[in-house]
């Protein structure tokens, strides 16, 4: 059995270490997310640009859906805290329209899945689609 005596480390030192780890993890995670393509040829889908803002009262998600058909936007709750947004495009978009010829394929829809990190009331969902921009508002549920 090994016995050793270690200097007691002050709280801030441990806290700093924790935040450094967290930062490193975030950076790694962020990089992993950003380094996959923003499109999926198998699903024939493009991942739209998106943003989530959490305020004290609501979760606001915006998704940029240029050339999406308003009547063909679907917002589905796929489990307790995961939302999926799909939107069919007005016309198919081929990679060769962007001059890309080394990958072949076309896209029919936008597809985006997101985890909602705080409890929300899904029944009170509010949506708006304006200028190709989808806004989804979900009121937060607070425990009493």
């Amino acid at each position: 059995m090994e016995v050793s005596i270690q200097r007691k480390r002050p709280f801030f030192e441990r806290a700093n270490e924790y935040f450094e780890d967290l930062e490193e993890w975030m950076e790694h995670f962020g990089r992993e997310l950003s380094e996959r393509p923003s499109w999926d040829l198998r699903l024939r889908a493009m991942e739209p640009l998106h943003e989530m803002r959490i305020t004290s009262t609501e979760v606001l998600i915006t998704v940029d859906l240029p050339s999406a058909e308003k009547s063909k936007i679907k917002i589905t709750l796929i489990d307790d805290d995961t939302l999926e947004i799909t939107a069919q495009m007005k016309r198919k978009v081929c990679l060769d329209e962007f001059g890309i010829t080394h990958y072949k394929g076309e896209f029919h829809e936008f597809r985006y899945q997101t985890h909602i990190p705080v409890p929300v009331d899904m029944d009170k969902i509010k949506t708006q689609f304006k200028k190709g921009m989808l806004s989804v508002r979900l009121p937060r549920l607070h425990k009493r």
């Binding site: 923003s38 240029p66 978009v93 190709g132 921009m133």
Partner: protein
């Protein structure tokens, strides 16, 4: 001679505006930046390799455009070399094209354009043109370095910013910035095609926007929302 700058920033306003200008004013590539400081990357267009940061020109306008967001630690060396180059070409005025994010942008019909200026003379000229000048606040990014350097050298420069989406490509904002640019420089710029192609541009610009978002976080772009403390 006027030199314009269009770099990836909020709403990609500057890059979208600059790309449109190259087409609209029939500008040709005249120079490019080559440096080991740049990421190991080459941009292919019509089968040929290009530097990500290039300069285009016609008779009286030079335009620097970058197809990749400029890394925070490269902003100084790149802007300094561009400003030095501009000086050697007898550039009398530098104008950076960019955006200023607003909340609930999709609900806004008329986008306003503001300018940040390098000195009093430029401020007066803009006010005479009916363009509102940014009086208090912070500017972050390559354009901030351009304005500081111009102010130090007492040479006229301005940053034109149109209200825009922060994290989504905004061709409408690019059109607004170009309309103001036309007013200031007297150059005729038709933005009809830019607006017509809006959705196509937004679709195409997703990846550059995503990388620009990451770089903007690193350079603490959010500081532009801060209210400065008054130091006299």
């Amino acid at each position: 001679m006027t030199m314009l700058f269009g770099f990836p920033d909020v709403g990609l306003v500057g890059v979208i505006a600059a790309s449109h200008l190259i087409e609209e004013l029939n500008m040709n590539e005249v120079a490019y930046i080559e440096s080991e400081l740049l990421p190991p990357l080459v941009v292919l267009h019509e089968g040929l390799p290009h530097s990500p940061i290039r300069i285009f020109a016609n008779h009286d306008i030079l335009l620097a455009i970058s197809e990749v967001p400029i890394q925070t630690d490269l902003i100084y060396p790149i802007m300094d070399v561009l400003i030095e180059w501009a000086k050697s070409k007898d550039v009398k005025m530098m104008i950076s094209l960019s955006g200023i994010p607003i909340q609930d942008r999709q609900d806004v019909q008329e986008l306003k354009v503001f300018a940040a200026v390098s000195g009093l003379e430029t401020m007066k000229a803009l006010k005479d043109n009916g363009i509102e000048v940014l009086m208090e606040g912070y500017m972050v990014g390559p354009q901030a370095v351009m304005l500081r350097r111009a102010a130090q050298k007492n040479s006229p420069a301005l940053i034109l910013v149109a209200q825009c989406f922060a994290n989504y490509p905004d061709p409408e904002a690019a059109a607004e910035v170009l309309k103001s640019l036309a007013r200031i420089t007297g150059v005729k710029i038709d933005v009809a095609e830019l607006l017509e192609k809006g959705e196509e541009i937004r679709l195409r610009a997703r990846d550059v926007m995503k990388r620009t978002q990451q770089e903007m976080t690193k350079m603490k772009k959010g500081q532009e929302f801060d209210i400065p403390m008054y130091v006299s």
